[in-house]
């Protein structure tokens, strides 16, 4: 059984598409790894897998071992810097060409989700994050069914639910919270993503997709509100080009000046593109926000496993 050596399983859910499930999953994974935990990421978005792109490993292919698949290693554990290992599995790694459509009806998706949960050799993991497609359909039902059947109660930490602030998004995410209630999946908390954008020119904050909707929803449902994540185009740049985030002088997040990067640039002043994503992420303004949210996820998971 491939899940047996995993300590905590965390689902990342949202009824709405494009709210940042995959980027939240990515950042939770990086933050957990920075905190020294070994992490696995399973992408069950079969028709639109984004995780390979997020970690910059689109060209990777899965290797077959007797009786299962080996996940892709993003980086191994490093004792000198104290980071935990990070491994990833996605349908994207199984496609011959990246632009290929995966046109599958429900039963086939169900079979694939089951296979992902039973046939991937994760080895020992502190955390398995499962990134999901939007909705409450085949993938979600199969995931809930299989996990409730095969995973131990103490393994299943619960779900992190992602939303954006506007009413159109929370309307769908409310359905997802009801889905969690009906299927008996515990909700660890709600993250409000894309909450505000700070103009890099004049530092004026605009709430492009409004603000506060996620918190109101969390209160309505009596679940924990993990926090707001602003839009940071530098994070996207980091993902898409591998450039270390840079901020204008005097940029502060939670009272800390982040305009001087922790990562030393190369001698010629260019930013190291070769450094591991996990180290470069430390320079992103979102890293400190995710650090505190990750701590909450960790404590929720530990509570579950200790009963």
């Amino acid at each position: 059984m491939s899940l047996s050596k995993i300590k905590h399983i965390v689902l990342v859910l949202s009824g709405k598409g494009g709210v940042g499930k995959s980027s939240v999953t990515t950042q939770l994974a990086l933050s957990l790894s920075l905190a020294g935990h070994s992490v696995g990421v399973l992408d069950v978005d079969l028709t639109g897998p984004s995780i390979p792109r997020m970690f910059g490993i689109e060209d990777a292919k899965v290797t077959q071992a007797p009786g299962g698949w080996l996940p892709i290693t993003v980086h191994d554990a490093d004792q000198t810097t104290g980071i935990g290992s990070l491994r990833v599995m996605s349908l994207g790694f199984l496609l011959p060409r990246r632009g290929d459509a995966v046109v599958w009806r429900g039963p086939k998706k169900t079979a694939m989700v089951r296979q992902f949960l039973s046939d991937v050799f994760w080895d020992e993991l502190d955390f398995l994050l499962i990134d999901t497609p939007p909705g409450t359909s085949d993938e979600h039902i199969s995931l809930a069914e299989t996990l409730l059947q095969k995973a131990r109660q103490d393994q299943l930490a619960g779900a992190v639910v992602v939303t954006t602030p506007q009413a159109v998004a929370t309307a769908d995410v409310r359905k997802e919270l009801n889905f969690c209630t009906k299927t008996g999946i515990k909700v660890i908390g709600v993250i409000e993503n894309m909450s505000g954008f700070i103009c890099p020119n004049c530092s004026e904050c605009t709430n492009i997709f409004m603000s506060g909707g996620g918190e109101v929803m969390a209160n309505d449902f009596g679940v924990r509100f993990l926090g707001r994540v602003p839009i940071d185009p530098q994070f996207l740049v980091l993902i898409e080009t591998g450039e270390t985030p840079r901020y204008p002088e005097g940029t502060e997040v939670n009272g800390q000046d982040i305009s001087t990067p922790a990562q030393e640039p190369d001698a010629d002043g260019t930013v190291k593109k070769t450094a591991l994503l996990v180290y470069k992420y430390q320079d992103c303004s979102l890293a400190s926000i995710f650090k505190s949210m990750t701590a909450e996820v960790i404590s929720a998971a530990q509570q579950t496993s200790s009963g």
Binding site: G15, K16, G17, G18, V19, T47, G48, R53, K61, V62, T63, Q64, L91, L95, P96, R98, G99, D100, A101, V102, V103, R105, G106, P107, K108, K109, A111, P133, P134, T136, S137, D138, H140, I141, Q166, V168, A171, D172, R174, K175, E176, N178, F179, K182, F197, C199, P200, N201, C202, E204, T206, I208, F209, M210, I231, P233, L236, V237, E240, T241
Partner: protein
């Protein structure tokens, strides 16, 4: 050796198999099931030993008897346009509503909007008809009317509580989409806009199968500029090509954000690979235009108002009008006829 998906070739098979009444199975479908509705049902290699084999083999084969019914029901619909995107949250529903409002500004044009996003319906909220319910008469189900000339159908109208989750597997979703086409009294429409969920799965296959005979004008692709989104849209384009759906064009949404204070334009979803325009060029699709990220569009959607009426002078409105005109030309209409200036 790296395993890859040998099943990918089966796309043609999935597309070629019209949806039919699923036979009553005695056990869940096995992993390599060709699909109980397919021509191969009960006779494929993988059917050997399956408890359903006899049932599947005995199920009626041939075209779906409901398709002619759908075709008859939609005989009065002049143009059918799908709004697609592989990616979620790029603005499919927003664009569908904007398009509907744009077409409906002409009082002589009647527009219908069908929301096939079963698990996350957004259209009713955006068009301000969230609390409507469906009325059933002898002629069929009556759609909700957002305006005198704008009809809407969505699963949201059927929910007892607004926040109820619709926890359905594929076949059930297909059944409802069929009913939306077969049982809804659409009447004479100039446009039927079909909003879809993200992905390339049941809903998309069903809409294509059910509408094939009555004719789809084509699909509009919606994307945002960043590669993470373009990647999924590429898959959707691949799907359309394989399914034989004409692509009318591609719209890039949320292109740039202009700070309301200093007018500085930021590329929030930066187009590191050239954005929608480059993708359109690469895949040989007509580029309909880019729409800037304007927070007021989202606000208009939250309140169910028409963005065109509320902010007629905004740059986003001008860009949208351009996109609508381009699209109208693509479906063979004179751009000036449909928009009131």
């Amino acid at each position: 050796m790296a395993p890859s998906l040998e099943e990918l070739e089966a796309v043609q098979d999935v597309l070629a198999n019209p949806l039919k009444q699923k036979p009553q199975l005695v056990a869940p479908e096995p992993e390599h099931c060709p699909g109980p509705e397919s021509e191969q049902a009960g006779v494929a290699d993988s059917c050997a030993g399956c408890p359903n084999q006899k049932i599947c083999a005995a199920a009626p084969k041939g075209p779906d008897p409901d398709i002619p019914v759908i075709t008859a029901r939609l005989a009065g619909v002049r143009h059918k346009i799908l709004i697609l995107s592989g990616k979620g949250g790029v603005g499919k529903s927003t664009f569908t509503c904007l398009l509907a409002h744009a077409f409906a500004t002409n009082p002589d044009t009647t527009v219908g909007v069908m929301d096939t996003d079963i698990c996350g319906p957004s259209i009713p909220k955006m068009l301000g008809v969230e609390s409507e319910t469906i009325h059933v008469s002898s002629a069929g189900w009556s759609p909700a009317w957002a305006m005198d000339n704008l009809a809407v159908m969505s699963i949201q109208f059927m929910l007892p509580n607004r926040d109820d989750a619709i926890i359905w597997r594929g076949p059930k979703k297909n059944g409802l989409i069929k009913q939306f086409l077969k049982d809804v009294e659409w009447g004479d429409l100039d446009f039927l806009l079909v909003d879809t969920p993200p992905g390339t799965s049941d809903e998309h296959l069903s809409v294509n199968t059910f509408l094939k005979e009555s004719g789809i004008d084509g699909a509009v692709m919606v994307t945002t500029p960043q590669e993470v989104s373009l990647l999924d849209v590429r898959k959707e384009i691949d799907f359309c090509r394989k399914a034989g759906i004409r692509i009318l064009g591609l719209v890039e949404n949320m292109s740039a954000f202009v700070c309301p204070k200093c007018k500085h334009a930021s590329e929030i979803f930066r187009a590191t690979t050239g954005g929608g325009r480059a993708l359109a060029q690469e895949t040989g699709i007509h580029f309909l235009g880019s729409v800037p990220l304007d927070p007021r569009i989202g606000m208009a959607c939250d309140y169910g108002e028409s963005f065109f009426d509320s902010f007629p002078d905004s740059p986003a409105c001008a860009a949208l009008k351009g996109v609508v005109r381009e699209l109208a030309v693509q479906v063979g209409l004179d751009g000036k006829d449909i928009m009131l200036e």
